[in-house]
Amino acid sequence: MRAFAHHFSFEFRSGLRDKNQMLMNYLMPLGVYALLGLLMTQINPVFMETIVPAMTVFALLSSMLLGLPGPHVAAREAGVFRSYKINGVPAISILAIPALTTALHLVLVTAIILLTGPLLFGGRAPSVWLGFGLVFLAATFACAGLGVLIGVISANSNATVLWAQLIFLPSMIVGGLMIPASMLPEAVARIAWLLPASQAMNAFQGLAMGIPGAVRPMLSVGILVVGGLTAFLLAAHLFNWDSRSDARPPRRLLALLALLPYVIGMFLLA
């Protein structure tokens, strides 16, 4: 337990010291939140209804998909995990602790959004706080799993960016953050169910914000939880201590199985 506490404490401080993590955990989500809060609410007043969940999901994507995988790849490539292995640091700690500390940073950012969204920009506050907490936990778990999985399967930092952007960019465009899912063409809306962001926005809408039009929001929560679990299990299975390790050749295609819960969700929700 002492070892876990030391590890957690170090990883949390590391997130504050590392400029890239600071950018992805705090500066980017809060900067975009401030910008959209000032501009989008003027351009599109409907955005005020969803600014809190949309910016929460954006913060989630930024920290978990763009911020979390990079340090994992960098540490593996620098031989940090080799040192960890020799000194008895378990693989589960390497995978779980950075996800937990990133989640803690995310809680702080989400708290800022929750507090200031209604006050500064006239945004709609959650009507069911328990529901907000539940969806937040499920979405964080799902995105953390994907972030950790991207870190595990990426051969280098360039690959990390590529994999992360494959989820991040579509999420921004069709994930319901900027444009409500109801305004998307039917085919695009159907494909958008493959994204955790869409599932999270649907669940927030139905379980936390009291906005009508959500499609089976509890199912979205279930998909997020199963998706997160699948991603974490795959990450643990594919985890490599060392990029030069010869013990087990990487089978990166297996990582595509992480999409399976979302594919099933697409058929159930569409």
Binding site: F10, A78, I86, N87
Partner: protein
Amino acid sequence: MQILHFEAVGQGVEPPQTFAVRLASVDRRVIAGTLSGTLGWRPKNNLGAGGNLVTESVIEVKDFRKTYGDFVAVNGISFAVEKGEIFGLLGPNGAGKTTTLESLEGLRVPDRGEMRILGIDPTHQIRKLHHLIGVQLQTSGLPASMTVQEAMAFFCSYHGLAPQYELLDRLGLGERQRTQYGELSTGQQRRLALALAMAHKPPVVILDEPTAGLDVASRVELHAIMRELQKSGVTLILATHDMAEAEKLADRVAILLRGRIVAAGSPRDLTATGAGMTKISVRTEGSSLQAGGVSFPAVTQQTTKDEYAVYYSTDPGASVSAVLHHIEDQHDHLIDLRVERPSLEERFLEITDGGSR
């Protein structure tokens, strides 16, 4: 005048012979040191001096082979390291030293052969070894933002120990405790890795190029620490291509070349064999060695320089024995005797054909 008794057990002196060497000058300690230190002759009344009786194998490697694709990194090597020994793996880059050590540390999986550390198989039982081995890897790192102090606390916590900050002082990192790993110099990073390897006081320490990048003072300090560890019963295995370091520190060495052990033994044994000439310079009170027609076994060349008779020998033990017998027979007195062996580096170059083999 002082008479010292020696038992000659070196090369070419079989069975062991006993000598009573008459020492005439104030240099007697130098001469005694030459006979015992360079040739391996033991002062007869102090046979156990400096010797540790070691019989227990702590590290065992049998027929270890490791390939990377078509490249054979290590090709069926075997060796054992005994308790309290400092064992050196020597060889040029790519010889297989690091592969061998990393397999012992459980980081690589052997293609063939057996490895044991304290009876534990590192490939399949690495968890049992965590607290028993301390490792300084050649290519390893810590998170760039981790401070020296945090690193000590972090790794000690995984060993269930309180942080051993005094080790940081010992290794000259006391004033850098709040410095992040990424801001340390290469030498400081290596010293930190060493401190972490030793923090949990493991009975076996594995060091890969431990002094690479260290300044002279740090290197001397590290050597002293390694000696201290050895005295406390710790077994050390180190890979290095610094021959002088190996010659100075290691009780035994194995020279690896292209994945095979091409020579093994104590540095003294290794330098005592081979075709390298040993220079023997002798000065006596009288002129017993200046007389014409005096020849000694294994001496291929002889000359005089200043007041010294100088012999080049392929078997210094036999030559020195004969010279000392001659001096004794002639009732002459020895003033100075110097034996200069080929260094381990010269021997290594000979074994490896100047490194081209």
